[in-house]
Symmetry: C2
Amino acid sequence: MKIIVIGGVAAGTSTAAKAQRELPKAEITIFEQDSDISYSGCGLPYYISDLIEKREDVIVYTPERFEARKGPRVEAQHTVKKIIPDKKQVIVKNVLQNTEKKITYDKLVIATGAKPIVPRLAGVDLDNIFTLRNVNSADRIKEFITANKPQKAVIIGGGYIGLEMAESLLEYELDITVVEMADQLLTNFDRDMAEIIEENLTSKGIKIITNDGASEFKGEQKVNTVVTQSGQEIETDFVLLAIGVEPNVKLAKDANIELGSTGAIKVNKQMETSISDIYAAGDCVENNHLITNNPVWIPLGSTANKQGRVAGNSLAEVEDSFDGILGTAITKICNLAVARTGLTAREAKKEGYQIVTSTIKAGNHAGYYPGYKKINIKLIVDEITGKILGAQIIGETGVDKRIDVLATAIYNEMKADELIDLDLAYAPPFSVPKDGIMIAGLIANKKRE
Amino acid sequence: MKIIVIGGVAAGTSTAAKAQRELPKAEITIFEQDSDISYSGCGLPYYISDLIEKREDVIVYTPERFEARKGPRVEAQHTVKKIIPDKKQVIVKNVLQNTEKKITYDKLVIATGAKPIVPRLAGVDLDNIFTLRNVNSADRIKEFITANKPQKAVIIGGGYIGLEMAESLLEYELDITVVEMADQLLTNFDRDMAEIIEENLTSKGIKIITNDGASEFKGEQKVNTVVTQSGQEIETDFVLLAIGVEPNVKLAKDANIELGSTGAIKVNKQMETSISDIYAAGDCVENNHLITNNPVWIPLGSTANKQGRVAGNSLAEVEDSFDGILGTAITKICNLAVARTGLTAREAKKEGYQIVTSTIKAGNHAGYYPGYKKINIKLIVDEITGKILGAQIIGETGVDKRIDVLATAIYNEMKADELIDLDLAYAPPFSVPKDGIMIAGLIANKKRE
């Protein structure tokens, strides 16, 4: 059996590795347009800040090591130009040699990921305007900073990547401005929670502009000014564009593979697309939201990895399924961990839920034990059923634990007042006898009465 | 309504505070034989090691502050000598004044806790043989160490308290020997996991003797030698007895309140004892195990707190219930967090389960991110149903998170192969895309086939 995988980052390599383990004799080839495969996109901001010093540390496998350890062939710097489902062929371009050939497959996997949205603004092609997409793009930013010792940076976009990069650039003692079109940072958080982040970034000296977007980049060859929609002119030595990402679906669309309402590729629980023997996984597909059962597009590395496993099993006809996601995510922004799971209050209302919420500050562990910190917990609860719909947690420590417990609780459709019944681990260095999530559950439940 | 609460630590104060909140007009009195109430027993080893410097820091409320903040009256240094259910009276001794009086109650709560078992061995009454029970007993140990600058310590018992105290005494650069009767430390862990702790303690210079108990203490007035059952003589400057604890049930037993098969007080889900209008909560009661539905006695501060809340609600006739426990526990032993939930392999077999287990080492977070550590995860799974029965985790960091997720999973009767379906939070500083608990779940499930 010949299997072709288009894309060699999280989903592509997971799929190929799993399929090869189940089908030792299959000929599996990964085509990746980039020179690197199997890197951690989520690690790139830390590579830029030099917290992770070595380039090779954000790369899990080089093509050679992946081939040796996992089996599939890896063709890096090969771009798939077209999928021809009728003939079960792909047209592949060898970027270095500038040659094209047609290759036949028995089964095909689309793992083309997502890419940064680049706004079509005047001056967007000037030098020193960067996006962060892969290791090479991180290299370009890092090399620019090292060579030019810039003083000022403007980040367009206040989402995860924009804010992680703001943290990263703080390490270089830059004068940083973040410009966000919405009326708050981190629009996938409720505004009251996002304000905690905004205050924290402001206290670190980062300038935040909300309700305003970039309208033009000025400069001669190199950017030197960002003009905003409200007419502000911000001098800068470079710009990072981080207004968002979009699924890479051109190949799929051109092959008449069905896209979903989110614009990403539609797949079933076995990661099959609308065309037989063509699978898709990772940031290019949409997912079922486990609470609403509606399709959502929330591209994340953990989802890509797990979907790769399911796609690999499906290729080998091993029973497996990817049932959906809860939109759980976490990031570190300076000293704060910022996490969410399920629906925000805004999302829940938009989905038609009648909700109650509780927002509390609670200790990470016993108050008398060194390292005590207060963390902010917001719980969103269905007023009718009492079920937990979502949570957002922000704090210096103990955030990841609590969001994971709540993600597990939501997965199991627990009610807010059931959290107190959980037998969580207590000892002074780790927690308090009645955890904040339990208190938040009781308070939210009380509001239902 | 007159409510009397016997015992003023975790369960007693929680009960009284909750009842007062629900019944603002009730006359609630706590009788506590000790001079302190509302202290953190779990914090005492850290107080002794001076990690927590101030005595008042391990005390949540003084009697005065509790009265002012929560409402109930607190009578410290008052020992309840007898309960007379027929007359709804208790006989209380004022320890300082050496007077006794009878007091009438409408409802009574027994929160008498647990106490260290002191073996009846020759020489056990010699000076410098200590137990750790309350703040005063911690003071005695701390004062002894400060005044006498001992060189050597012997700890009898290798359970939580014994090992937490071993860590604590390491701070004083003492020559420490731990003597444990069983063939392993921490008998509520499986032996393979306990060995990790044993190796770690040995590497810190602590001597571990297993399969041997104390048989005699020698010395003139002060202890200077521990003689073991195998005949070893260990020279020492002081001894800590930590062979275990037992429930304080004398009062209950004398009042003909039903005890359970574990020897602790039997209560229903509303924390009612067998005699009407008498409730019990905390370390003196036995609990329903949520997996086996058998009674167990696992005294822990978190359980006591939660039971206090339920008892308080029951006193006020507010609907609430305490359904049971999973035996979740965590402790810090030197640099290692050591945690468990559900059943160990040994316990599961004893309960008649046919089990499979998986034991793996997994990363706490992304390998390239600073602070990477491997943690040890053992999962115990029901071979027939695939349900997770228990887990044990040991490591330097990320242990509390994973044990709490697994405690939540077990509470919801999740199967091992469902863990991979959880949408846990991933980012390099916090986790890996496919968490170790997911891998452990898949491996254990595979063994069922």
